[in-house]
């Protein structure tokens, strides 16, 4: 099984008529994802390579039964698009948009908690989600994946791809690869993904890829200790990052001595996770954990 999405997931792409949206929307469809609709109020009634465009998400949901949204619009428009998807009745929203102001992220996150508590937001600034063989929403290069028993959850996109690739090369497949994104207020946390992977009968081990900034990894370590019976293989990027400098991702910053890779690594080790020292060690540790 996969988490959050499956072969029945129907996707509406907000931004399908844009250059990026079209590229990734069509890529996702070519992989086999059911991309059923796009939205653009100015282009309602038209289509993108056969995918119908609707004025609103609500309309797209009504007409196509879409149950997931892929938000790929500019940063200033993204918060409204996420809320439109929630209001339109979509329970799972993936937002890949980078550079959404932090206050907007905080407002969207809390607005969803208040008014749409059952809606799951993945991202923003995330690579998306891939359930190999079933569904791909976002940027993940599915060609480096294969179906199997390992779940991946990562803040970084490329490090998740690297992990997918190494596992596939070693003949180990993946159940779902979840990109939670590099921003300060992610809609879905490590803990949310760990909980879902723990409950998924086909996931046998989980790869968790974190980085400097915030305390999500430390909180995940507490959760792993208390609730996760499956082996967790972890890697944290940014061991040598200087304090106070933002390392590419908005959320990747050590502020006032908090959020260091060392602290996160130690917390995960103490929770029983196998910790890789560099991303290319992940494959070997997963093999070891699965006894292969």
């Amino acid at each position: 099984m996969s988490i959050f999405v499956n072969e029945h997931t129907k996707v509406v792409v907000q931004g399908l008529t844009g250059k990026q949206g079209q590229f990734y929307g069509l890529r996702n469809r070519a992989y086999g994802t059911k991309v059923v609709a796009g939205t653009n109020p100015k282009k309602a009634g038209t289509d993108v390579e056969g995918i119908p465009i609707f004025a609103t998400v609500a309309e797209a949901v009504r007409e196509t039964g879409a149950n997931a949204a892929f938000v790929i619009v500019p940063a200033m428009a993204a918060p409204a698009s996420i809320l439109e998807a929630a209001e339109g009745g979509v329970p799972f929203i993936v937002c890949v948009t980078e550079h959404i102001p932090t206050h907007d992220q905080a407002r969207v996150y809390n607005r969803l908690k208040h008014d749409y508590p059952h809606v799951r937001l993945l991202g923003p600034n995330c690579a998306g989600i891939l359930a190999p063989g079933k569904c791909n929403i976002g940027f993940t290069p599915a060609e480096v994946s294969t179906p199997g028993p390992v779940g991946i959850v990562s803040r970084s996109g490329t490090l998740a791809y690297q992990a997918l690739y190494e596992l596939t090369q070693s003949g180990i497949g993946q159940s779902t690869c979840v990109g939670i994104g590099g921003d300060p207020v992610p809609g879905t946390s490590f803990i949310d993904a760990l909980e879902a992977f723990e409950a998924d009968p086909e996931t046998e081990a989980v790869v968790m890829i974190g980085e400097i900034g915030g305390s999500a990894e430390e909180e995940a370590a507490e959760y792993i200790k208390a609730h996760v019976s499956k082996p967790v293989i972890a890697y944290i990027a940014g061991m040598e990052a200087p304090p106070g400098k933002r390392m590419g991702h908005a959320g990747a910053i050590i502020s006032r001595g908090k959020g260091t890779a060392k602290g996160k690594t130690e917390a995960l080790k103490a929770a029983g996770a196998l910790v890789a020292m560099n991303p290319t060690e992940i494959g070997g540790l997963v093999k070891q954990a699965l006894g292969r």
Binding site: H103, F139, P141, I209, E211, P279
Partner: protein
Amino acid sequence: MDLMEYQGKQYFARFGIPVSAGGVADTVDEAVAQAEQIGYPVVVKAQVMTGGRGKAGGIKIANDAAEVRFHAANILGMDIRGHIVRRLWIERASHIAKSATRFKENGEPKDEEFYASFALDRSAKKYLGMLSVEGGVEIESVPDELIAKIHVDPILGLSEEACRAWIAAANLPEAAREGALQVLMALYRCYTEGDCELAEINPLILTTDGQVRALDAKVTLDDAAHERHPEWAEFEAVAVAAGDSREALAKEKGLQYVGLDGTVGIIANGAGLAMSTVDIVKQVGGAPANFLDIGGGASAEVMVNALTVINTDPNVRAIFINIFGGITRCDEVARGIVEAMSRITLNAPIVARIDGTNAVEGRAILKANESERLIMLPDMLSAAQKAVEIAGK
């Protein structure tokens, strides 16, 4: 973007937070002119993006023009924790009230200097306000029980009622409470409407005539919100002029660059992989010269831009290119590297590791073009070791 004190105070003033009258000076003469206009005594304050200015001698009281001249001459050009002082803020000296309840170890009453800030609590995903009667020192050194914290839901906002309760919880003196309420409500507006990542007042003072005022300002603006704040342009201009020119060049080319001080230049795609690359260079005994994330793709154009930036760093003795080819396949990446090398004359050799989609084809292209200036190694560890070895020669 971090603001200097005077910019932070200008920003505070926009939201109605009381600050002392003052002006900027870049020369001794300007400092005297500002002081004459403001009226004595004044405080001469070094404007640098770091703490510990007072201890370093970067903040001095002056009672007349001669004293302003003396202190300004001393402070301009001063090195405070690696920051050279090029600008001063001259402001009217404040008369800070003495506490009736808090005393120093020698029995003298403490100054009424408080601490107030708003920032995001990433864990709670709500705003966190912190308020303490122990201001004027680094907040990290204040015992937790002396800091009153309030979580604010961004949707519900901060009510006056909640703010009053917060002030009471912090045990601010009665005389400061009404003034603090006005300041904190304004600080909250500044933090939210002003798109701050951090809005901090330390110290927030009570004056002898009963006013509550921001004596310092520490503001970090959220660069992502730049588009809706045309008024940030003047701050941005100052930051660019004062900042690292290589970082500015990278930014102009749409690359994420952070300068470090080593000898191994680093190019990787994706923030996570770029951080990992910095880590591994350090792990094998090298010193990274930079963090550089070229984003998800890795076209020849982007590679040229990245190499151009690295090439301006005279300390770089080897360049480690670490790319994971996903949608941009490794053969395209390899062709990009080869093409980039034909378009730009590099000061240091490249060690490249590429992996991912079409890795075999990509590596074959690099192998075919291998020389002393371009070395291909298939895995991250051996490539890092090679780059460090070259840089150490």
